[in-house]
C-alpha cells in the first residue's frame, strides 16, 4: 500500500552552496497491516523517510505512493506520533482527541470510541487532566491514542518511546502491539532500540547513514505475543547489532 520508489532527498545547507544528501536511491514497499521498524544510527535519514510518508516533506527525486497515488501532503489517513509528545497543552486529554477527530472530520464516525480508547491505555480517569499534569508515559499514551482515534490506515511512529524509562517503554510496547492487533492498521516505527524493533515488528529495515540507504531488511518470523527472553529473540538481536557495527568483537579478528 505504501510504495517508495527510488527516492533521493537532498537538503540545501543554509548559507553554503553544497547540499546534504539525506537519502539516496531508496526503494521500499510496505504491505497493509504490516508492522515495520526502521533502525539505524543518527543521520541515516530515517526521520526524513517517515516525514515523507507523512507528507510533511517531499522527495527530491523519485516518488512515494500511497494506495497508488503520489503523496501530496498530510492526511488523517497517515497519522504521526512524535518522540516528544505533541499534545496541545491548553486542551485536556479528551479535548485533544476530540479536536483531532473534529479536524479530521471524523467526529461523527469515531467520537464514540474515545472513552474506549482512553480505557484501553488506562487514561480513563485522566480524561479531563491537562498534559502537564500527566507523567511522560501517560502523555505518550495520550498522543498515541489521539493519533489512533482518527483511524489512520498507517500510523507513523517517530521514536515514540525514546524519551521514556525502560519499564514504561516495555509497558507501552505491549500496549502498542495490543492496539495494532486490535485495529489491524499498518505501523511504521523508527527506533534506536534494537530490542524494541525485534519485539514489535514483522520486518526491520536497517539503514546506514550518509547518504541514507537500506542495508538490510530482516524478517522477524516470531508469532505474537513475543517473549523477550527467547533464544530466537537474542539471535536476531545479535545479528542486527552486528549489522549496525555495534557487535564487532568478532570482526576484530579480520583486522589483526
Amino acid at each position: 500500500m505504501i510504495e517508495i520508489k527510488n527516492i533521493t532527498k537532498t537538503f540545501k545547507r543554509e548559507g553554503a552552496n553544497e547540499s546534504l544528501c539525506a537519502i539516496e536511491d531508496l526503494s521500499l514497499s510496505i504491505k497493509r497491516g504490516e508492522f515495520i521498524s526502521i533502525i539505524g544510527t543518527s543521520g541515516c535519514g530515517k526521520s526524513t523517510l517517515l516525514r515523507m510518508i507523512a507528507g510533511l516533506e517531499f522527495p527530491t527525486k523519485g516518488e512515494v505512493l500511497f494506495d497508488g497515488e503520489p503523496i501530496s501532503g498530510t492526511s488523517p489517513n497517515r497519522g504521526l506520533v512524535f518522540q516528544e509528545h505533541t499534545l496541545f497543552p491548553w486542551m485536556t486529554v479528551k479535548k485533544n482527541i476530540v479536536f483531532a477527530l473534529k479536524s479530521a472530520k471524523r467526529y461523527e464516525q469515531y467520537g464514540s470510541i474515545v472513552d474506549t480508547l482512553l480505557e484501553t491505555v488506562g487514561l480513563r480517569q485522566f480524561a479531563n487532566s491537562y498534559p502537564h499534569q500527566l507523567s511522560g508515559g501517560m502523555r505518550q499514551r495520550a498522543a498515541l491514542i489521539r493519533s489512533l482515534a482518527v483511524s489512520p490506515d498507517v500510523l507513523l511512529l517517530d521514536e515514540p518511546l525514546g524519551a521514556l524509562d525502560s519499564f514504561t517503554r516495555m509497558q507501552l510496547q505491549d500496549e502498542i502491539v495490543h492496539l495494532w492487533k486490535e485495529r489491524g492498521n499498518t505501523m511504521v516505527m523508527i527506533t534506536h532500540d534494537v530490542d524494541e524493533a525485534v519485539y514489535l515488528s514483522n520486518r526491520i529495515i536497517v539503514m546506514s547513514p550518509r547518504p541514507g540507504r537500506i542495508v538490510e531488511i530482516v524478517d522477524v518470523p516470531i508469532s505474537y505475543p513475543r517473549n523477550r527472553g527467547a533464544s530466537e529473540f537474542a539471535r536476531l538481536r545479535t545479528r542486527l547489532l552486528k549489522r549496525l557495527d555495534f557487535a564487532s568483537e568478532v570482526e576484530h579478528e579480520y583486522y589483526l
Binding site: A54, T74, S75, L80, T86, F88, P89, W90, S103
Partner: protein, 318 residues
Amino acid sequence: MKTHIIKLFPLIAAILVILQYVFVPNFREFTPLDQTAPTHVFTWFMGFVALMFLVWNIAAFVSKKADEKLRQAALIYSAALVLLLIYDFATLKTGILPQPFVPWSDAILNAIIRDRVILWRSVLHSLRLLFTGYGIGVTLGIIAGVAAGWSKHVRYWVQPVVKVLGAIPPVTWLPIILVVANSLFGGAVFLISLAVWYPVTSTTMNGVLSVPKSTFEAAKTFGVTQFGMIFKVALPASMQFIFQGLMQGMSVACTALLVAELMGVEAGLGWYINRQRGWADFAGMYGAIVIICITFLTVTNVLNIIRRRVLRWKDGEA
C-alpha cells in the same frame, strides 16, 4: 507550635495609628475655619480597618485558609500601617515634612470625600479613555503579532517597526498628537493604542515563533485548516506570551493615559490633579493620586485574574 501573635500585628498597628492620631498633640493649633482642620473621619476609617483585622483574626480561628492568608500577609499589612503611622507623625504631629505641601491622611481622606462626585466622573473618564485605547492597541497588536509570527514576509516589515518605534517612549509623540489631532480624546486614544501596540505585537510574534514546529505538524496530520492553525493552534499556544504583552501594555497604557491627561486632555484623573495643584489644593491632589493608585491596581489585578483563568492549563499558573 505556631505563634499566634504575628496575626495580631496589623490590628495592633492600626490601633497605634488611631492612638497617635487622637492623643498625640498636633504640630500647630487649628481653628474650625481651617480647611484642613483634623476631623474624626480618619479615626472612623482607621477604626474600620482595625475592625476588619479583628474579624480576620476571628475568622482565622475557624478557617484554616483565612489563618494561612493572614499569617502570610500580616507583616506586609503591619509594615504598611507603620508607614502610615510615620507619615502622620512627620506631617500632622510634627510638621517635619514641609507644610502645607504634604497633607496628612485625614486631610487627604476628607478631600476625596468632598470631591467624590468629580473624582468618580474622572475615574470613569480615565477608564473609558484607557480601555478604548487599550482595546484598539491590543486588537491591532495581536493581529500584527500573529501575522508576523506566521509569515516571514509580514515579519520582514513588522519587526523593524517594532524594534525602532518600540525603543522610543510613546509619549514622545504626544506634542505632535496634541497639535495634529482633531479631538484630544481621539489623540489620547491614538497615543495609548500606540503604546500598547508595541509590547503586544512583539510578545505575540515571539509567542507564535516559539510554538514548537512539531505542534503545527501534528495539527497538520489531523487535517487542521489554515484558519484552525491560526485561531485554534497558534493563538492558544502563544497565549502565555500574549498575556505578557497584555500586562506590559497595561502598564505603558496607564503611563500614556496619565501623561496625556496631565498635558492636555480636559477630563480624567490627570486633569483633576493638575486642576487641584493650580488651586493649591494639595490634599485634593494627593487624594487623586491615591485614587489613581487604586484604579490602576484594580485594573492590573483584574487582568491578572483573567490571565490565571485563561492559562489554568499551564503548569504553576493555577
